[in-house]
């Protein structure tokens, strides 16, 4: 009877280790689907430029005084901005202008412009101080 040679047992052991590893990898791959798709989408979709454009167009309106002509103008611009925002960017937009904030310094008086922006993914509100030269 020959002596039992058990020098090669590590090969069997490696086999077991590799098999277990592949099994665990397979489980991990199975768990992978649908992680973070909407989250990354929401971050990428933040409409920075649209909001800046809206602020750019509304700031001069907010700097106007509150006589009747300007109020009519404000109402017309509100309707136009709302229709444009909805038509182009699917945005519910509205704004309020406060002209009697009482904030002023040596050269400027500040009107407050509140912008509300909601496109279903991003809801954004901002208070913007519009400087008016005294």
């Amino acid at each position: 009877m020959e002596r039992l040679d058990d020098e090669g047992q590590w090969i069997v052991l490696m086999g077991v280790v590799v098999a277990t590893g592949m099994f665990i990898l397979a489980i991990i791959i199975n768990q992978a689907p649908m992680v973070g798709q909407s989250t990354s989408e929401a971050v990428l979709e933040f409409p920075k430029n649209e909001i800046q454009d809206i602020r750019y167009h509304l700031a001069p309106i907010a700097a106007l005084g509150n006589d009747t002509d300007n109020m009519t103008l404000e109402q017309r611009i509100r309707a136009d901005m709302q229709a444009l925002s909805m038509g182009r960017n699917n945005v519910v937009l509205d704004f309020d202008i406060y002209r009697d904030t009482g904030f002023e310094d040596l050269f400027y008086r500040y009107n407050e412009l509140d912008i509300h922006y909601n496109n279903g993914v991003t809801t954004y509100d901002e208070e913007y101080s519009v400087p008016v030269r005294l």
């Binding site: 009877m1 689907p33 649908m34 038509g87 519910v92």
Partner: protein
């Protein structure tokens, strides 16, 4: 006969033939047990993973539709592997024939409330071995099993409600295809939106006033996704409390101050 004799090891009566038969039997038994019980299980999990992959693919398609419609991109194409079934394109005429569409009842401040019908069309995956049917309809991904009653919404459409100004925004996406199309294996789905989006209604009721909006989902008889839409509309996804179901009129109602309805028409060029 020459005999090997080692103390404590007596191989009288040991037959190679019997040993072989024993080992062979064990192997054959093992194989047959795996074939009988293991294989169907493996296949089942294969169908399950196919369906899950397709669910993900349909979400990709829905995302592409969203980019096409909401971001004003005229062309878009997606290549995807379709496993365990086929994908079908249904023209909006076809879904209209099955009386499968949305109806919106609302007040646009004229004499009588309006009742507008929106055609749908769909991209639908039907599993070959399993029972799953996953559809992209009206910008949402919905799923059902053909042997079961209910259905679920995998991904919501982008309808939204603005709480600050009490505004409800509804988007309707109509899918058109000039011929019947289906895809299998690796499919390249090409879509386009060449007609500009249409603002069907943008109505603001008087200061402080709210008016009801009613939505009715007419389901397809076979591919009935009404449970999914019911849960979406009555749940808190759009707004806390959602729509309330009026069983007399068979519609989901909500009172809003401003209502916007937009309609997109997407054409599937080829699959």
């Amino acid at each position: 006969m020459k005999r090997n004799w080692v103390k404590g090891m007596d191989d009288d009566g040991v037959s190679e033939a019997i040993g072989f038969i024993l080992i062979f039997t064990i192997v054959v038994l093992g194989i047959s047990i795996v074939t009988l019980y293991g294989y169907p299980l493996l296949q089942k999990s294969q169908i399950g993973s196919d369906e899950r992959i397709m669910e993900q693919n349909m979400i990709t398609l829905q995302n592409d539709l969203k980019i096409l419609t909401l971001s004003n991109v005229p062309y878009r194409d997606t290549t995807m592997g379709i496993s365990g079934g086929s994908i079908f394109v249904l023209d909006s005429n076809q879904t209209d024939d099955d009386n499968h569409n949305f109806q919106v009842w609302y007040d646009n401040e004229s004499y009588a409330p309006l009742n507008e019908t929106f055609s749908l069309g769909a991209l639908r995956f039907i599993s070959a071995q399993g029972q799953a049917a996953i559809s992209v309809e009206n910008g949402a991904v919905v799923k059902r099993y053909q042997d079961a009653e209910g259905s679920t919404m995998v991904a919501d459409p982008r309808w939204f409600y603005d709480e600050t100004y009490d505004t409800l925004v509804l988007f309707f996406t109509e899918i058109q295809a000039d011929r019947a199309m289906s895809g299998d294996g690796i499919a390249n789905i090409q879509m386009s939106m060449l007609d500009p989006p249409e603002v069907v209604e943008d109505v603001t009721y008087g200061p402080g006033l709210t008016r009801p909006v009613g939505i009715t989902y007419h389901n397809d008889d076979v591919f009935n996704y009404s449970t999914a839409w019911d849960n979406y509309l009555t749940g808190s996804t759009i707004r806390d409390g959602g729509f309330t179901y009026d069983s007399v009129q068979d519609r989901y109602e909500m009172n809003v101050h401003r209502l916007v309805i937009k309609k997109y028409t997407v054409k599937i060029e080829r699959v």
